[in-house]
């Protein structure tokens, strides 16, 4: 759904590790408060950053925004219907039908949860869409001192996913042409997966073994250290990006605190 977009933007030029930590901070800031204002303003900030600083083309951004808004809907619906209203002294019931009661309190909780999911998705989108996978792997090794074998594992996995998808598509067609009907319902799905699993696993194992051998033949893993063609230093602009986001988070908390309590459910008068 969301993929890396290989164009030039200030977000692309940031150090991947700093970018990842900043997005983690934004995610955390949305985790521990119940006020819908905090995740709402954070999501808005992320969206504006992706659009204006990340230079994601408008048609794609609008399509992605559509997905992002749809994603939390099931969770929100569930929350709106099943919020435990006994915690509130006198809930503002709006609508009552059979076992379901919809109250203002439930709707606000649903909104807060939905916006929180929206923040997580937006932060992931910002990182994925603007981070070159190779830069990320190198940055993990250089900045976070992650063992380089692991960092390269991340990179090789990136390369393998499209290969395996292509393999799966061919296997699917090869089975279709045997006259094997596409089974219906979930039973059909399970049967089909079982049939695809063996050839797909065989292909994946063979491919990954070949890749490992080719890497080893080029002295990968020969020593505890290696050098890097790409350099991922932490520059002033990276620190500035982190600082600006921390300041924004603080400002969002301040605004939200003026509009209502931060750490418990907003109860209308």
């Amino acid at each position: 759904m969301f993929t890396y977009l290989a164009h030039a933007s200030p977000l692309h030029r940031l150090n991947p590790t700093v970018k990842l930590l900043t997005m983690a901070a934004v995610g955390l800031a949305a985790t521990f408060v119940y006020s819908p204002w905090v995740p709402g303003l954070l999501a808005l900030g992320l969206w504006l950053t992706v659009a204006l600083v990340g230079k994601v083309p408008w048609p794609r951004l609008l399509r992605w925004s559509g997905y992002m808004l749809l994603l939390p809907l099931p969770l929100m619906l569930f929350t709106a219907l099943y919020t435990d209203l006994s915690r509130y002294p006198n809930p503002h019931v709006l609508w009552h039908w059979g076992p379901w009661t919809v109250a203002t309190e439930g709707l606000v909780t649903a909104l807060a949860l939905g916006l929180r999911v929206l923040v997580f998705v937006s932060a992931s989108l910002l990182f994925i869409a603007t981070t070159d996978p190779t830069d990320f792997a190198v940055s993990l090794a250089q900045n976070l001192r992650v063992p380089y074998r692991f960092a390269y594992g991340v990179l090789v996995a990136q390369r393998f996913l499209p290969l395996l998808r292509r393999e799966l598509e061919i296997i699917r067609l090869a089975h279709r042409v045997r006259g094997v009907g596409e089974g219906r319902g979930w039973r059909g799905q399970v049967e089909r997966l079982q049939r695809y699993a063996v050839p797909l696993l065989a292909a994946a194992l063979r491919k990954s073994q070949r890749t490992a051998l080719a890497m080893d033949a080029k002295a990968f893993g020969a020593g505890p250290e290696r050098t890097y063609f790409r350099q991922m230093p932490i520059r002033r602009r990276d620190v500035l990006f982190l600082a600006l986001w921390l300041a924004y988070i603080a400002a969002v908390y301040a605004v939200a605190a003026r509009l209502g309590p931060l750490n418990w459910m907003w109860i209308p008068e």
Binding site: V156, G179, A217, A219, F220, T227
Partner: protein
């Protein structure tokens, strides 16, 4: 003057864990610096195992029991730590895509340098030199998955050259390349000969032989049958080479002059397949992969569908049966009926499609069940199923393996099984995607003879292939694709020269 041999092996043996027999036993070989040695041997005969042992990958990275003596430029790979051989011997594999560790051309070249702990400042110059040596400098910043197969293989070669090994070992480097890319790859190798010792494993003897100083014929388990000057050695040991299933240069192959005599009557009322101005693109905005192909394949034809990688051959073949794809414009008729009006069952009853990799098509755990599958899925009575399976297994020489797991068959057996499964429901049309890929001479000819026999019984054959020799020998008509268009169509004997330069170099790798 004594020089250290580039390669020295004495009584070398390798036994993989859990394998019933050793892969190599008693291999003796010596290669001098500057030599180009062509290694010929039966498939599964231990050639790849030998190269992996030279590079120290066996036993350090791929466990196996190793005995005997082996030296590479004076050092013993068995005693060195893993990776220590990388500056002495560069190992090139068959499938470039599976050998890449990175996503971009210059990162891939830098990868080996990084492992050798070359300072970053010294890298750009070495990357430039390596890319120049394989004519890939303009592609420095491209993504690897956007290159054609031939370009990918040259980048993989450059990645080895950057590390500066005097010895290059190449394991069927052109197996996945089309004739034009193969020719380009051999031109690159020819330039490298001066400064490098080359050990080449290759089935394409016609192209490889002119490069070789010496030919080594390997038999079972890597025993050297014969070695010496290329032509003389092959001429003298022709019978042994044929018995081992080796591909021989056209001038020495007893079947080279042979041509199938086609007598099957051709019927155009209706043709087996008719494409009318067919277009195809993967996405509405994307480029067209097939750009207006019109082609009629008469019933009883034996058609070779040829052309460079990425020309749209496989796409056209799939469009013939609406196999996961539908034309964006144009019409396809199968035995006179529009394909879009036919159900999947109706299509597969009329036509079979054999994929490049036979393993992709296996759906059961027994060879006999595999052949029976399509029949049982159609509710054919079990007595009839058994009789039909018996007959097919006999015809494809698989009776002895009826109870075996299809994945455990040899390459040749797997291929025969994948064709047999397609014939269970007796289709009138058989489409095959590179059916002889990776097969040795004997299994390839056995398969081609079977296809010819089927053709004589009235089955229309459409075969995608890069093997120009087989095209000339077996095909009745040739359809050549270039850049999504039908470039040439006509009787096989009128088909112009086989290897022509260009074509592949700018093509996208999708087809």
């Amino acid at each position: 003057m004594t020089t250290t041999p580039a390669i020295e092996a004495q009584g070398l043996g390798v036994h993989y864990p859990r394998a019933p027999e050793p892969a190599l036993d008693g291999l003796d070989l010596s290669v001098q610096p500057g030599e180009t040695v062509l290694l010929l041997g039966p498939s599964g005969g231990g050639k790849s195992t030998f190269l992996l042992t030279l590079a120290g990958l066996i036993p350090h990275n791929l466990p196996a029991r190793v005995w005997g003596r082996v030296r590479v430029l004076g050092v013993e790979p068995l005693r060195e730590r893993p990776g220590a051989l990388a500056t002495r011997i560069g190992l090139l594999f068959q499938d470039p895509e599976a050998s890449f560790a990175t996503l971009v051309v210059e990162d891939e070249i830098a990868f080996g340098l990084e492992n050798l702990r070359v300072p970053p400042a010294a890298m750009p110059r070495r990357i430039t030199a390596a890319l120049q040596a394989v004519d890939m400098l303009p592609y420095r910043h491209r993504r690897l998955d956007a290159l054609s197969g031939g370009q990918q293989q040259r980048v993989a070669l450059a990645a080895l050259l950057a590390m500066g090994p005097p010895l290059l070992a190449l394991d069927e480097p052109t197996a996945h390349l089309d004739p034009a890319a193969t020719a380009a790859f051999f031109r690159t190798l020819k330039r490298l000969q001066g400064q490098h010792t080359l050990l080449l494993v290759e089935h394409r003897v016609d192209q490889a032989l002119p490069l070789a100083h010496r030919v080594v014929l390997l038999g079972e388990k890597g025993r050297v049958l014969a070695q010496g000057p290329p032509w003389e050695t092959l001429r003298r040991h022709r019978d042994a080479a044929l018995a081992a299933g080796l591909w021989l240069p056209a001038a020495l192959d007893p079947r080279a002059a042979w041509r199938a005599h086609h007598t099957t009557p051709l019927r155009y009322d209706p043709p087996a397949v008719a494409l009318e101005d067919v277009h195809f693109a993967y996405t509405p905005e994307g480029p067209e992969v097939v750009r207006g192909v019109s082609l009629r394949v008469p019933q009883g034809d034996f058609l070779a569908l040829v052309g460079p990688n990425g020309a749209g051959k496989t796409t056209v073949a799939r469009l013939m049966l609406h196999l996961g794809l539908r034309p964006t414009a144009g019409r396809v008729r199968l035995f006179g009926e529009p394909v879009e009006h036919l159900s999947l069952e109706a299509i597969t009853a009329r036509a079979g499609f054999v994929f490049q990799n036979p393993e992709h098509q296996f759906v059961t755990e027994r060879v006999a069940d595999e052949v029976a599958y399509s029949l049982r899925a159609r509710g054919v009575p079990e007595a009839q199923v058994r009789a039909r399976v018996q007959a097919l297994l006999r015809r494809f020489r698989l009776e002895a393996h009826a109870g075996q797991n299809p994945f455990r068959l040899s390459q040749g057996q797997k291929r025969r099984l994948s064709v047999a499964t397609m014939l269970a429901v007796a289709p009138r049309l058989l489409i095959l995607d590179e059916p002889t890929f990776g097969q040795d001479r004997n299994t390839a000819y056995a398969l081609m003879d079977l296809l010819l026999e089927l053709n004589r019984e009235g089955v229309t054959i459409v075969m995608i292939t890069h093997d120009t020799r087989l095209v000339r020998q077996y095909a009745r008509h040739v359809a050549e694709m270039r850049g999504g268009r039908l470039h040439w169509w006509g009787p096989a004997e009128a088909w112009p020269a086989a290897t022509r330069a260009g074509g592949d170099e700018t093509a996208d790798k999708r087809g």
